[in-house]
Amino acid sequence: MSILRPFKAADMFKFNNINLDIWTETYGIGFYLSYLSRWPDLCCVQEAPSGRMMGYVLGKAEGTGAEWHGHVTAITVAPEYRRLSLARKMMSLLEMVSEELYKGYFVDLYVRCANVIAIDMYEQLGYSVYRRVREYYGSLGVGKGGKDEEDAFDMRKPLPRDVNRRSVRPNGRDIIVSRHDVS
C-alpha cells in the first residue's frame, strides 16, 4: 500500500531515509533537476500514507534507431519498505511509459556485479545481462568484492517493439566492454 506519484524537486528535502542507505548515492541538485527537466514522466516516488518517502526511480530515454530505449538510472527503496513490491511497481511504470510514450525498444539499467539482490530482482522482472562493463563504478570501499564491485552488468528487458528480441543475448555475462564503449 503506497502512493505512486511523480518525483518533485522538493522531494530532495525528504529523501534521507532512502539515501542514507549505502547503495544509494546522493548527487548534486543538478543531477535530479537534469532528469526532471527532461524526463519528468520517468521519475516517480512511492510514498507512505504518512507522507514518508518509501522509494523512488529516476529514468531517461536515450539512444538512436533500434537502440532507442528507456533507461533506469536509479531505483531505490528505503530498508524498512523492502520486499513490498515497490521496486516491481516502479519498474513496471517506467516500462509502461518507455513503451507507450517513448515507443522504446527495450529498457535497460546498470547494476554493480556485486549487488546480488538487485540482480536477482531484475531477473525476476524479466531482465537479463546484455554485457558486462569494466570499471563502470568507482570503488565503494566496503569489502573485498574486487572486480564485482567496480564492474557493472548492463541488463535489458525487451519491450514489444523489439520484435526480434535483439536486447536479449544468452551469453551476455561473457561479453565484456570497457566503460568508454558505453554512454
Binding site: 500500500m1 503506497s2 502512493i3 505512486l4 506519484r5 511523480p6 518533485k8 524537486a9 522538493a10 530532495m12 528535502f13 525528504k14 534521507n16 531515509n17 539515501n19 542514507l20 542507505d21 549505502i22 547503495w23 546522493t26 548527487y27 548534486g28 541538485i29 543538478g30 533537476l33 537534469s34 526532471l36 527537466s37 527532461r38 519528468p40 514522466d41 516517480c44 507512505a48 500514507p49 504518512s50 514518508r52 530498508p79 524498512e80 519498505y81 523492502r82 520486499r83 513490498l84 513490491s85 511497481k89 511504470l93 509502461m96 511509459v97 507507450e100 510514450l101 565503494l140 566496503v142 569489502g143
Partner: protein, 945 residues
Amino acid sequence: MSAAALERQIRPIYDALDTGSNKSAIVACNKLLKKHPKNDLLKSLKALALVRSQKVEESLVLCDEVLEAKPTDDGTLTAMMHALRGLGRHNDMVTMFEEAYKKQPTNEDLGCQTFFANVRANHWKAAHQIATRMFKQFQDDRYLYWSVISAMLQAKDTNTPAAMRPILYKLAHRLIISSPTPSYVNADRFHLHLSILRELDLYEEAQGLLDSDIGKSICATNLSCNEVRRDIWLCQGQLQQEGERARNRIVLMNDRNWLEFLAVLDATLLDAAHPSVPTSTNLGSSKDTLTKIQRAQDLFLDVSKQDRLKDRSGPLALLELERRMRAHGLSQDSTRLITLLKEYFDNFGDKACCFEDLKPFLDLEESDLSQFTIFLQVVPAGFTNVSELRRLINAYKLLRYTLVESDITVDTELERAAAYVKAYFQALPLGVGLPSTELQHADDFALLAGNAYVNIWKLTGNDCHLLNAIYLLEFAVTKSKQSFLTRLILIRIYRLLGAPALALEHYRIMQIKQVQHDTLSHLILSRATAFSLAASGDLTLATECLESTQIYVSNSQETGDFVVRAFQSEKYSQIPEFISFEDQLDNSLQRDTVKIEHLRMRLTHEPISSDIIDMELIELKFIFDRIHYDNRDFAILPNYQPKISRDLNQQTLLFGKPEGHGWLQTFLKVYIRAFQQASDLDDTVEEKLLIGDRPKQTADFDRNLSLRDRLLQQNPSELANLTSDEAKLVEYARALADWLEPYHNYARPPPSVVLAEAAKQTELKTGHPLKGIEIPTINATNGHPKKDEEPPTIQEPPEFVLNYFDGVRARIDDSKSNSSPTELLHVATVAQEAFLLFLVETLRFKSPSVVKINKLSSLVATFNCLRAAAISALKDISAILIKRGESDGSSESLSTCAKIGDSTFASQIDHDFVFIHAKRVADSRRKVLEGVGKGIARICMTYAS
C-alpha cells in the same frame, strides 16, 4: 591584427577561465587590452576573471564600462552574463540583454537570452511580454506557451497583488486557447492547460479535455497530469465519480496505488462526512451510506483475497474504512477493528513496516487496547528466522507505542530495556552471515533499547543510562556498520553528554552531502557554539558550518539553469516546482541558523573590527527581511517512544530547547542591533555601497515599522525557544544597547563623511572613483566633523549590565557539578558571547580621538570597570573548565563511567569494549572543556585593555 588572429589569442583566456586559472586569465587579458583597449569581449572576460578571484571592486568598474557600450555580440554577452551573475546584478543583466535585443530585433537567439535573463531574475511580466513578442515574430508555438506560463508565474508571485491574479490567469487562458495547435500534443502543455483551468475554476472545460480519448490516454501514462485531473474532479465535487473511476482501476487494472483506495473511501463516506449535502432525505442517505459501505467492504475483501500476502492495500483499506466508520458513529461491530488489527498483524507482522502501517489505527479504547496488548504479548519470542524476528520486533514496537501513563515508570522501563537488550543478543546470530553492506536484522532491538534508556534518563535525570545506551549502540554499529539510525541516536546522546567530537565522528561516517547538509546539519550544528574551540584556534566546527553552506551557493548557481532548461525542453510541469525548490533552499531556516552559529564562532577567533561588523551587518539585515522555510529533517530519528510521551527528538534536544524561527529571530535582533550601533553605515550609505541587487523583503512583518521598531519588538513566543542563559544574554544585550544608543548616535560620523572615506578606499584599491558618489568638502578636524550640540549626559550603566557576570558566576556554580559538562559549557560560552557583544558595542570608543572630540571620557571610564569585572569572571570560568576537564579525563572518573554497563549486557559485551568507549567519552570531554577554557582565557588576554 586580423579578427581571426585576435580570436586565436583569446582562446587561451577561455581555457584559463575553464580551468579556474583566473590569475593567468587576468594577465592574458591585460596583455591584449594594451593593444585593444576598447575591446568589450576582453574587458568582459577580465571582469569575469576578476569576479572569480573575489576582486569585486575592480570588476565592477569594467562591467560598468562594457554595459555602457551596450554590446550585442554573443561572446561578450555570455561573459558578461556570468560576471553579472557572480556579482548578483541580475537587473543589469536583464537590461543588457534587452538593449542588445532592441538593437537586433530579428535575432531569435538573443530574444531567448533576453527571455531567460528575465526568468532568472523572476521578472515574469517582462518575460511574458518578450515571449508574446517572440511568438508574433517567429511563429513558434513554444513562445506562446512561454508567455502563458510567464503570466501564470506572475500570478503566483507573492509580490503580485491579489486582485491582479485572476486577470493574469484569464490572460493565460485566453492565450492558451488561441494556440494554433491544441495543448494535448504534448503532456506538459496539457498539464499547463489543465492547471490554468483549475485556477479559474473552469471545471467543465477541463472535463471536456479530460474526457477526450487523448486526454484519457495522457492521464493514463503521465502521473503529473493525472494528479491535476484528480484535483479537478475533487474540486468539482465529483467524489462519487472519482470513487467509481478508482474502483474500476482497482478491479480491472489491478491498480494498487493507495490514492485509488482513498478515492473509494472518500466516496463511500461522502454523505456521512457532509451530512448537509442536500441529496436526499437523511434517512434515505444513511441507508444509502450503509449500502455503499457494504460495497466498499466487498471490494476491499475481494482485493485482499486476490492479493493475499502480495499487497497490503486491501487489508489496510478495510482498517481505514472501519476507522472512518467509527469516527462517524457508523461502525456496527465493536470488535471489528480489533479483529482487523490482529488479522493484519498475523498476515503482515513480518514486514518491517507493519508497525508504521498500524500506527494510525491505535487510538484504541481501554478494552480494545488491553485485548490487543494481550494478543501482542504472546507473540512468540522466536529467533530462528527473520520472519519470527520481525514479528517480535513489531510486537515490541506496537506494545511500546501504546503504553499508557501508568505503565511508564523507571522500573518498568528498566525491565523493558533489559528485554530489548536480551532479544538483541538472541537475535544477532541470525545475521552472522550477512555481508558488511547489509543491516543486521537485530538492529531494531538495539534501537528500542536506545529509546528506553533515553526515556529512563528523562525519568531519573541520571546520565548513566545514556552511557548504557552508548555502550550498547556502539556495540551495535560494530555489528551493523551501515545502520545510520543507530548513529543518529549516538550523535544526539554524545552531544547531551558533552562529547561533541564523537558525535561529529558518527556524523561524518554517514557521509552527509549535497542537499542533505540543509536537512541534516542541524544534528551537529545546532547550538554548536557551546562546543566550538575556535577561540583556541581549532576551527573544526566553524569549518563544518562553512562546508554545510556550500549547497546554497550551488543552488543559486545551478537551479536557475535548470529552470531555463525546463523552458527549453518545455517541461512546464516542472518550472513552478523548480522555482519553489530554489526558493525553499535559498531561504532555508537552517542556512541562516548556521550563519548565526558561524558568526558566534567567528567573533571568538577573529579580531573584532569595523570591517567584520559592517559586512555581517549588511548580510544579517537581508536575512532579517526574508521569509524562512524549515527544511530540517527530524523524522529521520528512529522514534519508538510511547505515543503519549515526548518523542525521541524532543527528548534529546540539546538543553531541551528546540532551535527554530524564534531562536533565529532573537539572535538576529541581538546582533543586528549591536552591529548597527557599532557601525558607521546607515541606510543611505549602505544603499550606495551595495553591489548586487537588493533582495526582496519576503518576511512577514508590518511594513510600516522601521528597522529599529522591529529590532526592539519582543515576542514571547520567540523567547520560548531560548534557554534561560540565552534569555539572560538577550536581556543583557538589550540593556547594553539601550544604554549606549545615544552615545553611538552622537559620535557616529555623518553619512557624507563615511561615503567620502569609502570612496577614498575604493580609489586607492582600484584606481577608479566610486561611481555616483560626490565627495563633499568636509570642514573637519581629523575626519571628525565638529559638533554643534552637546554630548548626551553620561548615564550610569544599567543594573542588569552591572550584575550580569555575577549572575553568570552563580549559574556556573549550579552547573559545574552536573555529571555531563554540556550545561557548564553552555553557560560559559554564553558568558563569553556577552563579553564579545560588549566589545562590539564599545569598539567605537576605543579611539582616543573619538572620545576626545565627543567628550565621552567619563563614559569610557565606566567601560573599563565593566570590562575588568567581566574579564575577572571569565578568567575564573576558564579555570573551572580546565580543572573540570582534568577531572573528567582522570582515571577515577573513567572507571566510574565504565562500571555502569548495564548488567543485562555485561555478559555479552566485554569489559574492554565498555572501557574503551568510556575512555573516548572522557577524552572528548576533556578536550572540549580544555579547549573552551583556554579559548576564554585567550579572549581575556586579547581584550585585556
